[in-house]
């Protein structure tokens, strides 16, 4: 069962990257993003990517690295506020963006991973999000049809993994990671710690069936976007 564990990000990604592919990445803001794998994808030079991720990183960190190097063609996200280079490319027409309500994005990824082609949802009814989408009444409420999302490659960050590929996420770094792990035939996970024993079965967030390749994360900077502290207890 040790064949999932790779020495580093580059070897874990070997044979998986090609121009024009779709990559889904876990994380919320800079919290729980697969920093090591993003850096390796950046260094690979792969281009023309479609990225599925809630956010787009910041200018010099996270998915911002791929944007800055113009490796991204289409970004499927819910909020991209903290990225100047993103704004520049978007305004210049160099980058396409598909905005999804955050919960819709999460559910589309979950659905894609669970073999669900589409689902009806109230979010966005009567807004630009609903334009061109099938609408249907359930009871007294209007719903719109949203579709499942899948990717060619999924990259996630977890806290712990065992040799079976089981994952445990840490605190709010869980966010999109368990969903993203399911939405691709190939998921590469980077983890802070690979434990030698099996993880406790009841504690596992993502079972190893979803994790094809695994690395020990060499980058755990975990940059904080807004460090707010209080002075008094």
């Amino acid at each position: 069962m040790t064949d999932r564990l790779f020495a580093d990000a580059k070897s874990a990604l070997a044979g998986l990257l090609r121009d024009g592919m779709t990559i889904a990445a876990g994380g919320f803001g800079l919290c729980g993003i697969p920093e090591t794998l993003i850096t390796a994808i950046h260094e690979s030079g792969v281009r023309n990517l479609t990225l599925i991720s809630n956010n787009a990183g910041v200018d010099d960190f996270g998915l911002g690295l791929l944007l800055r190097a113009r490796q991204v063609r289409l970004m499927i996200a819910s909020y991209v506020g903290e990225n100047k280079e993103f704004e520049r490319q978007y305004l210049a027409g160099e980058l396409e963006v598909e905005f999804n309500p955050q919960g819709t994005l999460a559910e589309r990824i979950r659905a894609g991973g669970a073999g669900i082609g589409g689902f009806y949802i109230r979010t966005g009814v009567g807004t630009q999000v609903a334009v061109g989408k099938e609408e249907r009444m359930f009871g007294d409420d209007r719903y719109i049809l949203e579709t499942g999302l899948t990717a060619d490659l999924a990259i996630v960050k977890a806290y712990q993994a065992d040799m079976y590929g089981n994952l445990i996420f840490r605190k709010a770094a869980r966010n999109f990671n368990p969903l993203v792990a399911t939405c691709s035939r190939v998921t590469v996970a980077e983890v802070e710690e690979v434990v030698s024993d099996a993880l406790p079965p009841d504690a596992i967030h993502t079972p190893g069936i979803y994790v094809q390749r695994l690395i020990h994360a060499s980058m755990n900077e975990k940059r904080i976007e807004k460090r707010i502290v209080r002075q008094v207890a």
Binding site: G32, T127, K171
Partner: protein, 210 residues
Amino acid sequence: MSWTRNEMAARAAAELEDGFYVNLGIGIPTLVSNNVPEGISVTFQSENGMLGLGPYPMAAEVDPDVINAGKETITERPGTSYVSSADSFGMIRGGHIDLSVLGAMEVSEEGDIANWMVPGQIVKGMGGAMDLVAGVRRVIVVMDHLTRDGQPKFRRRCALPLTGVNVVDIVITNLAVFRRESRGERFRLDDLAPGVTRADVQRQTEAGFF
């Protein structure tokens, strides 16, 4: 006289009920957590997957894996749980969150809200705002009464792209509070800031209210 930002937040906090699960947007709504009335216990939810938010951390407590939806460092409290983003929005869409307090650029007299994009300006995305207004049981908007150019923000119809249709229950501005008991009803003027008259509000509001 008009209400300050903190007074507007306190006015919103007066709508809290014991045992409520509450989601706060960024900006003035964040201040609601400092104004929870005495004797009332509420649980704050953050849509990035944290249920049960404590105060901001002391410097030594900062943990990069513990943030709120505004990407600010935050703390746990007894009873905190973490869920995935899909489960978090399941709580929101499924009507399990009692109250959402959020900011807006415009609200219409029919309870439509616009708060995510201005045509011609850079679009940052709607984040979780559309999910929150569509799913949370009661929605309070806290916003300035007028735009910087002096235009009413509580309007007959929203001119900006909508975040949700017929979803707002209470509008709190620096001048007044408008509320309706159920969606589909008209808003009524419920409260005035000190020294502000009904005529003052009428003059600075485009939306119909009674």
